[in-house]
């Protein structure tokens, strides 16, 4: 299969990262969302990410021009009818995701492959409502999407091997290493990383050390490039809370019971990088303010 054009549903942080990654791999991408304003913000987010990359020599101004020229946007779902692959990164619940794919089934060709970005929502559950359940597969991208090279590929019970093969081929094209995982809450990455993030929040709440020192200890002590609290900021405090809640509900394992600090921060609007303030502070370019 020669992939040329990919549709992305959604324009939040993950969708932005996916669109950027696709366009950087020299493929055309069309982003769909409900309002022009959201899409405008999405594009602005992509530009900001690229500008940040340019400022640290990751991309060149010529790369920016080429990447942006490959990204188009639309508020009309039917404009995605000719894409070969559709990646959904918008629905926050099983119901929302199912609705999006049912709508897309009515628009896209029968051969279009559907991919859903999911952390805790089961692919098989989405498949139940679809006419062609065999063509849908789950992906779990890690933030920041354009930099992280790992993607978990989640096969639903009906997903065909052919779809798995195409998905792995696409991930190769995007410069990602894919690992195939079974459907289970949190898969591999989120399942393993969330207890560390949760424990770091507890350690902070208990006053054992400052946020900087907690992150530095893990970062330098275990040679992990980012500390757990900075990871939570990157993920979004609200998103981290949702993951913990969801895995805790499904597994009943107390190490996933969210630290109360997360709820407090969400109430205060301290959502991490995206709001400029989480465990740490960030400037408008989403760069961490030192000692902030």
């Amino acid at each position: 299969m020669r992939i040329q054009k990919i549709g992305v549903v959604g324009c939040g942080t993950v969708a932005e990262g996916i669109a950027l990654n696709i366009a950087h791999a020299k493929l055309e991408v069309i982003m769909y969302d409900e309002t022009e304003n959201w899409l405008k913000d999405g594009l602005a987010g992509i530009e900001l990410t690229i500008d940040n990359e340019i400022s640290r020599w990751g991309l060149t101004p010529a790369d920016k021009k080429a990447i942006m020229s490959r990204i188009s946007t639309t508020t009309k779902m039917r404009e995605l009818k000719d894409v070969q692959i559709l990646i959904e990164a918008k629905g926050r619940s099983l119901e929302e995701k199912t609705k999006i794919f049912m709508d897309m089934e009515a628009i896209c060709h029968d051969s279009t492959i559907f991919m859903t970005n999911t952390t805790t929502i089961g692919v098989t559950d989405i498949q139940k409502q679809l006419m062609f359940p065999e063509r849908i597969i789950g992906l779990h991208f890690i933030l920041p999407v354009h930099k992280s090279i790992i993607v978990e590929v989640i096969k639903g019970i009906h997903t065909t091997e052919e779809v798995v093969k195409t998905t792995k081929f696409l991930m190769d094209t995007l410069g990602k290493k894919s690992i195939e995982v079974y459907e289970y809450p949190g898969f591999v990455t989120t399942r393993i990383i969330m207890p560390m993030i949760n424990t770091a929040a507890h350690v902070l709440l208990e006053g054992l050390a400052s946020a900087e020192d907690i992150d530095r200890a893990i970062n330098l002590g275990y040679n992990i490039t980012q500390g757990p609290l900075a990871m939570a900021d990157e993920m979004g405090i609200d998103v981290a809370l949702t993951y913990l809640d969801s895995i805790y509900k499904q597994l009943g394992d107390p190490s996933y019971r969210p630290c109360s600090l997360f709820r407090k921060m969400v109430r205060e609007g301290r959502l991490g990088v995206k709001s400029g303030h989480g465990f740490f502070k960030y400037d408008k370019m989403k760069r961490r303010i030192q000692n902030g």
């Binding site: 020669r2 054009k5 020299k26 055309e28 020599w57 991309l59 930099k147």
Partner: protein, 401 residues
């Protein structure tokens, strides 16, 4: 002999159809945006006619097929029949240690190129794709001409880096040098113009394009060159830094927490003329600023010329005297300012520029030293495709005999 030369990049194919007897171009052109929406093919004939068309081109096979088709198209084409093409010459960036000259391409050669991919991960894969595509479409002999081959004569004490020797054994880390086809062409041509025997001459050739390198040539063989394991080493280039203290990059990586990719980009895409000027990687822009009195542009040009001058000095020592210095490529052929700046104050070495003559020479063959200068200084426009075509013709006719 009619030879089609192909230069395949990841999303482009540049081609020339050359008549090797008359050394003239029958057609030139390129395919761009392979595998992308809006791919196009261009064909230029020697009378200046140009055709550009948007077509669907998904891979190198389709690209080369499109080139072959347009060349025989009744209205715009330059050939009646594809059978008129006698051979194909491929530009290949990296020959590794295996290829010390141009070779007839066989399945074994293709396999060796594949084995060498890790030495040129960006350039060799599209070169190989182009070779395989052409082999699938044309049943004529094909020849590979390597950027590195001319430098295969560099002595061991010059190509081994002073780092643990096991790294040479393990990863073939050594100086390879690039632009070999250009250095070979202009140095040979300079000898022809001077009526000197290439096999009996000491020369320095200076290729100053967007990428830039120098070669010290003795008796027709490259004995040293400024580019090294990759095209990053040596002179200051459009966006590449050339020689720097390797500890600098480790320091910056630590300070700025850079990834390998970012560090690689910093040195290859954000440095050189662009990095110092902060404005452009194009020497023409910098010269304009220089003549308008811009201070930073003066700095760029001084650094650029000084680096070349240092290499001239060191190659003068390597060669124990130089009969001829040749300038070529975009900047070398077209910038009297750069040529003058890098030769300034070398009179005591016997390198004496005729400033008036130098100022007059832009993009043409010429001798620009004073008549009594012991070292001749020349400008020779490069023509890498012609070398590829001539090498191809020679190997193919030898094969036919």
């Amino acid at each position: 002999m009619k030879v089609l030369t192909l230069n395949c990049g990841s999303s482009t194919v540049k081609y020339k159809l050359i008549d090797t007897e008359s050394r003239s171009n029958i057609a030139t052109g390129k395919v761009e945006r392979i595998g992308m929406i809006g791919a196009s093919i261009e064909l230029k004939s020697p009378d200046g006619n140009k055709v550009v068309r948007e077509v669907e081109i998904l891979d190198h096979v389709m690209a080369i097929n499109a080139i072959l088709k347009i060349m025989v198209e009744p209205k715009v084409g330059v050939l009646k029949d594809l059978e008129e093409i006698d051979a194909v010459g491929h530009r290949v960036v990296h020959g590794g240690e295996t290829f010390s000259g141009s070779v007839l391409i066989t399945d074994k050669v293709v396999q060796t190129l594949k084995d060498n991919i890790q030495l040129a991960p960006l350039h060799n894969p599209p070169n190989i794709q182009g070779i395989e595509a052409a082999m699938a479409l044309l049943d004529v002999p094909m020849v590979g001409v390597f950027d590195t081959a001319f430098h295969s004569t560099i002595p061991e004490y010059s190509y081994i880096y002073p780092i643990p020797y096991q790294l040479y054994k393990k990863y073939a880390i050594r100086r390879y040098g690039f632009h070999g086809t250009s250095h070979r062409f202009v140095s040979q041509r300079a000898c022809e113009i001077n009526g000197r025997n290439f096999k009996n001459c000491t020369m320095i050739s200076i290729h100053l394009g967007n990428g830039a390198s120098m070669a010290a040539i003795r008796n027709g063989k490259s004995v040293d060159t400024s580019m090294g394991f990759t095209p990053l080493e040596g002179l200051v280039m459009g966006t590449r830094c050339g020689d720097i203290d390797p500890a600098i990059i480790l320091h910056i990586m630590r300070q700025e927490k850079l990834s390998l990719h970012e560090a690689d980009n910093l040195l290859n895409k954000f440095s050189g003329i662009l990095g110092i000027s902060g404005r452009s990687s194009d020497m023409r822009d910098i010269e304009e600023l220089y003549f308008a009195g811009d201070k930073q542009a003066h700095l760029v040009i001084n650094i650029y010329a000084y680096r070349i001058k240092k290499y001239i000095g060191s190659y003068f020592a390597v060669l124990n005297g130089v009969e001829c210095i040749v300038f070529t490529a975009g900047i070398g052929e077209n910038s009297p300012l750069i040529r003058e700046k890098c030769l300034e104050g070398l009179d005591h070495l016997g390198i004496v520029l005729d400033k008036k003559k130098n100022d007059e020479v832009v993009g043409q063959e010429a001798i620009i030293s004073t008549p009594d200068s012991p070292t001749k200084i020349m400008v020779v426009p490069t023509n890498e495709e012609l070398v590829i075509a001539l090498d191809t013709a020679e190997i193919v006719s030898r094969m036919k005999k």
